[in-house]
């Protein structure tokens, strides 16, 4: 079971309560599609992903980025039981969406970069450690139901 210190809980809650989902979501997803272009394989139906500009201004990417970021809300509310909380979501990503779970880490890294850019020096090593620990637990939970 994952053990969270009071400080870690506080850091995670603080990041998400002050998060602008409509800004960070699109930024994280579009960065992922640009920095790791093979991830575009899952978004053939999104239209023009031809170059960075097209990706950044694509409304489907923007909407989906917001949706994915809100997907983290349940993990924030259930930090002591992320694995169980995401069991269904893991099945969805495996059975229906057929997403290679290695991709979760790529998006997590892009989200980390976006949050770092937003927080600047407030994104201290301790904050980074807590945030990356949180994302690692989420990534692990999302990969758990693959078989």
């Amino acid at each position: 079971m994952v053990v969270w210190s009071e400080q870690e809980r506080s850091i995670i809650n603080s990041i998400f309560s002050s998060l602008d989902y409509n800004d960070a979501g699109p930024k994280a997803l579009s960065r992922c599609l640009i920095v790791y272009p093979w991830t575009q394989r899952y978004f053939a139906s999104f239209g023009n992903l031809y170059n960075a500009e097209a990706i950044k201004s694509n409304p489907n990417v923007q909407a989906h980025g917001i949706k994915v970021l809100h997907g983290l809300d349940r993990a924030v509310k259930n930090m002591d039981n992320i694995k169980a909380t995401y069991a269904e979501l893991s099945v969805l990503h495996s059975e229906k969406l057929h997403v290679d779970p290695d991709n979760f880490k790529l998006l997590a890294d892009c989200l980390t970069i976006v949050i770092a850019a937003k927080m600047g020096s407030a994104f201290t090593p301790e904050v980074q450690a807590a945030f990356q620990k949180f994302l690692a637990v989420v990534v692990s939970a999302l990969g758990k139901q693959y078989h």
Partner: protein, 147 residues
């Protein structure tokens, strides 16, 4: 020996332009990246058991961060042939330091995080992908002599 450089002319241009903007902050970038790595990835501390103080901003961390970024700067200057340009550094890492190559990825990630928080407007997705590719190419060059 085949040169498997995957850096396009555009990548190199992007890296050189960005580096010109940030190089005066090289020491600070290196120190912050190294500090973060030691906190967020504590297993990396195993390489520095000979240091008295591993805390963020400590004297050995500051000094070594500057050394590492000096190496990155050298790599930018020799971007057209990293294998040849980084030969002595490659031998150093292979035969003396013997840093497990997985750690290059870890340090690269932390460098990217620092770039994002220090240069949020300049560290666009386009710059991010070029820098990520560049640091991966540097890591490859440094690992060349390992076996």
């Amino acid at each position: 020996m085949t040169n498997i450089s995957t850096l396009s002319a555009k990548d190199k241009e992007t890296v050189k332009t960005f580096w010109a903007k940030i190089s005066s902050s090289g020491d600070a970038i290196g120190a912050d990246a190294l500090s973060r790595m030691l906190v967020v990835y504590p297993q990396t501390k195993t390489y520095f058991s000979h240091w008295k103080d591993l805390s963020p901003g400590s004297a050995p961390v500051l000094k070594h961060g500057a050394t590492v970024m000096g190496g990155v700067g050298e790599a930018v200057a020799k971007i057209d042939d990293l294998s040849a340009g980084l030969l002595s550094l490659s031998e150093l890492h292979a035969f003396t330091l013997r840093v497990d190559p997985s750690n290059f990825k870890v340090l690269s990630h932390n460098i990217l995080v620092v770039l994002a928080l220090m240069f949020p407007t300049d560290f666009t997705p386009e710059v991010h992908v070029a820098m990520d590719k560049f640091l991966a190419a540097v890591a490859r060059a440094l690992s060349e002599k390992y076996r």
